[in-house]
Symmetry: D2
């Protein structure tokens, strides 16, 4: 049996705690520990879940001690024990950590809050797993960009994509935030067109002809994207749907199934027993998608907290170099996380007898 990839997560926030969860369910990975500076309920929960907690700073360590938290050591000690670190610290903080990771000879994955230039490589598994193989660093692009690249490269792979123009209505803040971060009863447009997501998608695949416009909406979870796509040729609806089905992290949903809004998918994930109610897939409305000649129109929703989690897992394997085939890594990740392409199709072998515990 091959050695497991030893992984650290630096920053146990919205993304970090999910990456930690996801690492723990991979057969070929081991979560050595997480590191942070906080000492409140968020990190206490990590301890309750049996995760080793390290302190990123001396001050953080002292506060953890004071809060009764068992501190396993400092970040540098954690880095001594791992092959790959996933940096999930707040935007712009990660850049300062890179040198530290290098000193410890640890490969590092950053998130979309950092600039492409930090790593020179931006990652979406289906698009460019191969070019990340064995690299020292990569950057998993943001939730909006991840969804954009997944869908557009699916169309591109089928030879259907000419150009894409998108409107992104983002959630305003994360569900756990309690103060001084939200917007109320308004929409706030981004100050410039194109918004940053279009160029960001091109940092993954420079061939994409994509322009995005973005605004924040008055809700706390899930983004919604609307796309106007010029196809490279006239196509029919089924051809387009088949192209999308070829990307395993896009799930087709239907209003006919009662999935009629962003919050329907959130409820659905909870119903399915997903940890934290997370949706790793882009949920694209099959019965809203429309083709008119060589124009394609569609809308989907993205769980901004979860959509990048499978990409982080694949990025770990890519940097570690243990799995050289993208499809194989994606398959392992999807299986471990229970990624699906359809949420409501009833399984063939449905039990119809009475059920107990």
């Amino acid at each position: 049996m091959p050695k497991k990839i030893r992984v650290a997560v630096n920053g146990y926030g919205v993304i970090g705690k999910r990456v930690a969860d996801a690492v723990r369910v991979q057969q070929d990975m081991e979560l050595v520990g997480v590191s942070d500076v906080i000492s409140d309920y968020r990190i206490k929960t990590a301890v309750t879940l049996g995760i080793s907690v390290y302190a990123s700073t001396t001050e953080g360590s002292a506060q953890m001690d004071a809060a009764g938290l068992p501190v396993a050591g400092g970040l540098h000690q954690l880095l001594d024990k791992v092959d790959v670190v996933v940096d999930c610290t707040p935007a712009k903080i990660g850049a300062g950590n890179l040198e530290r990771y290098r000193e410890h000879g640890v490969k590092a994955i950053f998130q979309g809050g950092e600039k492409h230039e930090l790593t020179g490589h931006s990652f979406v598994a289906h698009a460019n797993y191969a070019t990340a193989l064995g690299r020292e660093t990569t950057r998993v692009v943001s939730c909006n960009t991840t969804a954009t690249v997944r869908t557009l490269t699916a169309l591109k792979d089928a030879g259907l994509l000419a150009k894409a123009r998108g409107v992104l209505i983002r959630r305003a803040t994360d569900p756990w935030e309690s103060d001084h971060s939200g917007i109320m009863n308004t929409i706030v447009p981004e100050g410039r067109i194109p918004s940053h997501q279009g160029p960001d998608a091109q940092s993954v695949d420079s061939s994409l002809d994509v322009v995005t416009m973005a605004a924040k909406g008055s809700h706390t979870q899930n983004h919604m994207h609307y796309w106007t796509v010029e196809l490279s040729r006239t196509a029919d609806r089924e051809e387009v749907l088949d192209a999308l089905r070829a990307e395993s992290r896009i799930a087709l949903v239907r209003r006919a199934d009662g999935i009629v809004a962003l919050n329907s998918t959130i409820e659905l994930m909870r119903d399915l027993g997903r940890p934290r109610g997370d949706m790793y897939e882009v949920a694209l409305w099959e019965d809203i998608l429309t083709v008119q000649g060589n124009e394609l129109f569609y809308t989907y929703t993205v769980d901004n907290q979860a959509v990048v989690i499978p990409e982080n897992i694949d990025a770990i394997r890519a940097l570690a170099g243990t799995v050289t085939n993208a499809a194989e890594s994606i398959r392992r990740t999807n299986d471990a996380l229970g990624v699906r392409q359809d949420f409501t199709t009833v399984p063939e072998n449905t039990r119809t007898g009475s059920v107990g515990t």
Copy 2:
């Protein structure tokens, strides 16, 4: 001095009360009365404002009496006294009233909740005032469609418009609604693409190549539109802005002036002393608008409660036939309502001395 156009408003709701206000400040119109079936604070306020109130039904009349409201008569009595009725009853109700209006020989204006087929004519002042002249009926299109037609015909008039693809994020319900009408912490997409606003814009100007996609956002006031426009030729930013400035009911706003979101414009209208805080103009962000080659991208916000009010006033003149020139009617309406093309340019002759009452 020419005789004033005698006007009735049937339905004193969100639109009706604003039409009534607007009619009262026109020099060439007289508000004879309003008619409704309610007897609560909304209609009591009409009485307080000195408006004659009529009852649309016998039951409504009895309830008004019981509530201590002075009822001036029944709707049919009101219709006997007017030249034009503006029907602002709830969507789909108006259709049933048409026959009644005809019996009284009264010209009638309907709102966008009714179908185009009801009147055979759909109205936006700048686009087709002339074809409404002397007609028996017309229909002022909905708030979203009015804004769409204003902006697209401005581009068309300048010879710039090839085709337009829009995403419309609508307010979910009106600010006064208290129960069982809102959405919470979500976005609800319309069930089909194109949404109805595109075809509706074509009911005003069939030459428009326009497709719309729409969703409801979790806020109560103002819509937000994002447009991707293919220009008929390469143009520069100033050329586009000049085209938009040629439509007197588009106001250019700027983030540099602190107008950074939908609620900024709402606060601004209150600050300017607008009645009910209404914005009759489409507020389009000058410093977000972007041109790339022959592609134009822009966003604006629309006061869903107020944007159709000037159109209703113009429609009254068009049906009455008292003003044959569109520009003249538009000028009168704009002057009476204080319509502006720029909200923040400080007037030339600003007083700088101390001010009293």
Copy 3:
């Protein structure tokens, strides 16, 4: 080994699906099946989870067939196979089902949407498990009332309660609802004082001197209660906290732990891996609770979707009569559901080594 209690759930909505989940993890119960009339994602998920689905109506059965759902039979067939049915149909619908349950000789539990008179017994485990023993029917009171009774009877048990006056800020609609049920940017007061929860608490314990005032707030999950309690005597803070700690379904939370708002507890439950992010406990702020002489002031939050679930489980045992001791049933339920009295105290035997899968 004693025979398991065979349970049916009629109505697979917000409460029903959670009751079904909870029954499945009890060692002494068996979920025979659930019954409903819907055929969309909500019931499809039940099938995916391996639950036998029955149709409550002929029409519902036909629609389930059409949607490709394997229907195990009609509700009457389900009733033939069970000892207890938990009725989780919408408010006021349950009353009509009682006769049907009786015909099948099945004991029945109703929810707080039904009137006390339907069953003649209203249930909160700690307050009156004993009086429900062996009964044909009982009614688990609503989420707000359950929380009220849990906290007030804890004070009463300690001899501390004289009278209690509460203000209840309710969530406006359930998180999954997408349209025409929410309120937006407002608060809606109940039309009368006292609101129904006070009298409802007295239907469980008629000795409680309690008055409630209630309003709906502009949020979708969790209620918040503020209480002003007159103590029967002067007491100190620790005495009051001890009284509350004696009720196993009250958890003390602290702002000092970062739990500063309703949504903090929601995030915490997700972090703890709770199914659907559910909180079965009343989360009462220890560091806000204040005693002044013989007056006590405190606030807590209630997960309106989950707080009644443990009560339903206890009610099943009480009606079935298999466990005669309240404390024993409560212990079993709490253990199976992972109910805690403190969410953030780090376990004694915390692992500090590295962890894998």
Copy 4:
């Protein structure tokens, strides 16, 4: 004719702009100018309205110049021209301005964001106008405290008040705020009981036995208060209502009139043509108010942006010493602002004929 009181407003924000408006409609006052540091749409509107604008800082002056704003001078020049300054700068900033005002020999009114100690006097017109007469400074208490004092002193004046316990659900941020200030889909309790409003009410009237608990709700306008009052004796409903009617700035509203929520009153104010849609009155629900023996329960809503405006106007007269009688000042203020005790009673002499412009 007596000389008008010359007034300056320092800080043209939510409160300042309303005070400026209100000063301008008083017959015995003159608004000499307003001072601020901003240069965006908010202050540009002041210029448009014909108000002289001064710069509070050299930097602010430069930015106003750059923005094309005609600057009438610096704050110190404004202070040279006035008798009274109303300080409406952000909380805690005002304290630093006091010395400056003293140097210019200008009397000064501060807002509730400052501490009582700054002025040694806290003001609510009906409660303690007399003690403010001729003072150098006073402090108009916050919106929540103003409403609390108005209602409780009305009960006290009638000899009915023993003690009062209140729960205050506050709006989370002001409607104009666009970012990083709101809360979303939650309630945030204040960290301590009693919240500061109770002691603050006692800074106006130390005899009040009042305790408050407060939380922020997910809405942007109007607070809602729920009160449990122990009366000094058994009373009936009408006696209590009469006591409240004796305070001219409490308006009784009714659900029977369709006023069923916070946003109903906001719509009502817009319908009544109030500037900015402001409500100066505490709107107390007559048909929810309940008396049980010696206990009184009621709820009201407070326009957090406007309720303190009439108090500021009265405070100007009190400091200036031009009107020694509280009732006379209150009458003048109320008349000028159109304060009402009932919003929906139809006027006696209602016109029933047709109305024109």
